[in-house]
Amino acid sequence: MTEFLPLAKAIEKHVPDGASIALEGFTHLIPFAAGHELIRQGRRDLHLIRMTPDLIYDQLIGMGAARRLTFSWGGNPGVGSLHRLRDAVEQAWPRPLELDEHSHAGMAAAYRAGAARLPFGVLRGYIGTDLPAHNPRIRAVTCPYTGEALATVPALNPDVTILHAQRADRLGNVAIEGIIGAQREAGLAAKTLIVTVEEIVDELPPAMNGVLLPHFVVGVVSPCPGGAWPSYAQGRYGRDNDFYLRWDEIARDRARFSAWMGRHVLGTPGHREFLDSLRQGTA
């Protein structure tokens, strides 16, 4: 049954060095607090999986936590580059980063296959692109009816998926509202699913056809208000577009990046203090 643990305990218990780990959330509900906790605990050699690495993976990569990245779009949305990701790929700083690169459609098919515990996903995809020439995991099957060749991707089944959601109940059911990205699929594909939530409630509103991850697929729930900042939580707080712009400056320079991470992430014991440290003075 679902465990209820503080975030630090959840990471300590369920995410070892070397794990494959997906922090999903498409612009919305990105589990930043969990990413910071991975950094605080000094995880190494992680295989990071995420459609859109975003700032949180820029931070993990810049801190040297990752050996490998499975992804389909690695930018700062609406702003530009992820400078730490670029530095790792272009200059191997602070360490080399292996790439397992896909398109969104391919990643989506891979998560779906993982959620269904099929070994591969099929799509009419990767047409007219050099990606398969550089990624031997992108292969093909022949349709047994039409003879058509279709692209395949191996299923993604992360050791751990971490999501952020608005609410869980005391049984461990998790309710998500708003843009959902591939969160449901990444959650169901995981060997262990950890969900940080804005709030734990006695009773969720009736879900009917809404998005709910039932308690028996949720390994751990960790209460973590504000845990998606600078991403957002529909109905709770907005996306901090300004921070996404500022990050472009912070991350552009190795020293400034390291100083910022040292002060705000390594220098704080948890997410509440992290947010407090940003409120004090210029982040």
Binding site: T52, S72, S81, Y111, I127, T129, H134, Y237, L275
Partner: protein
């Protein structure tokens, strides 16, 4: 009406190419502005789909990211991202997909992956995202890019998305590929036989020679050149009001959650 920027001309040109009821797959930036301009002017029934899963969204301000809350709140519905790519794009329901890139070649192939060799790039770009399958499966692709010899190149460093490449017909791509490339110096369209992009539409005050200079391959100029009229006062008013609303909305400070 001559008091408009080249960006405005591009946006208006892209918007004019859209028709009422057209189902578009929209990216952030200029395509998003063009689609919303069209929706707020001549094409009120334009359907906007963003890859974040928001279907028929009708934002009052332009989103800064592909997954802004505004898109969810004004959408007919929000579906999982895998559904967007399988049941909408792959299923052939998208009339027009918008793309941009760091590099384009004369057949409309695009690079948004790397400058330099893949294994040791000089510049690592964000990558494919939705582009590869938009290029292959949307019924038509509209490319929007500012012209410069650095980006309109004879040869791509990496082909992220396919245009009118050799073998497209037998490739499994069901869409028609790039129908138009809207630049800041004019509009290119593919020749029927070769698929080569040629200059077909001029903007007011920008001669074909200026377009030729901005393109990194020897640009063919169509025998019958059309000219696109300048933005109307009404178009500019709608576009500028949209951008002003957007700027005002994004000036609202975001409080850190507590």
């Amino acid at each position: 009406m001559s008091d408009y920027s080249r960006d405005e001309m591009m946006t208006v040109a892209a918007a004019r190419l859209l028709w009422d009821g057209c189902i578009t797959f929209v990216g952030i930036g200029l395509p998003s502005a063009a689609c919303n301009l069209a929706r707020l002017s001549h094409a009120p029934g334009l359907v906007l789909i963003y890859e974040s899963g928001t279907i028929n969204t009708r934002p009052t301000v332009l989103p800064l990211s592909i997954g802004d809350g505004e898109l969810a709140e004004t959408a007919a519905c929000v579906v999982p991202l895998p559904d967007i790519f399988s049941d909408y794009l792959q299923a052939g329901r998208i009339d027009v997909g918008f793309l941009g890139a760091a590099q384009i070649d004369r057949h409309g192939n695009l690079n948004s992956t790397v400058i330099g060799p893949y294994g040791k790039p000089r510049t690592r770009l964000p990558g494919a995202g939705g582009a590869t399958e938009i290029a292959a499966q949307a019924k038509q692709v509209f490319i929007v890019m500012k012209a410069s010899p650095r980006s309109f190149v004879p040869r791509l460093d990496f082909q992220t998305s396919g245009g009118h490449f050799a073998g497209r017909a037998a490739s499994g791509a069901r869409g028609g590929g790039p129908a138009v490339v809207v630049t800041d110096v004019g509009i290119l369209k593919p020749q029927a036989a070769s698929g080569e992009l040629v200059l077909t539409v001029l903007y007011p005050g920008i001669p074909a020679e200026e377009a030729r200079a901005a393109i990194g391959w020897p640009l063919t100029i169509a025998q019958e050149l059309e000219s696109m009229p300048a933005p109307t006062a009404a178009e500019l008013a709608v576009l500028r009001a949209l951008e002003a609303r957007t700027a005002a909305a994004h000036r609202q400070p975001v409080r850190l959650p507590t």
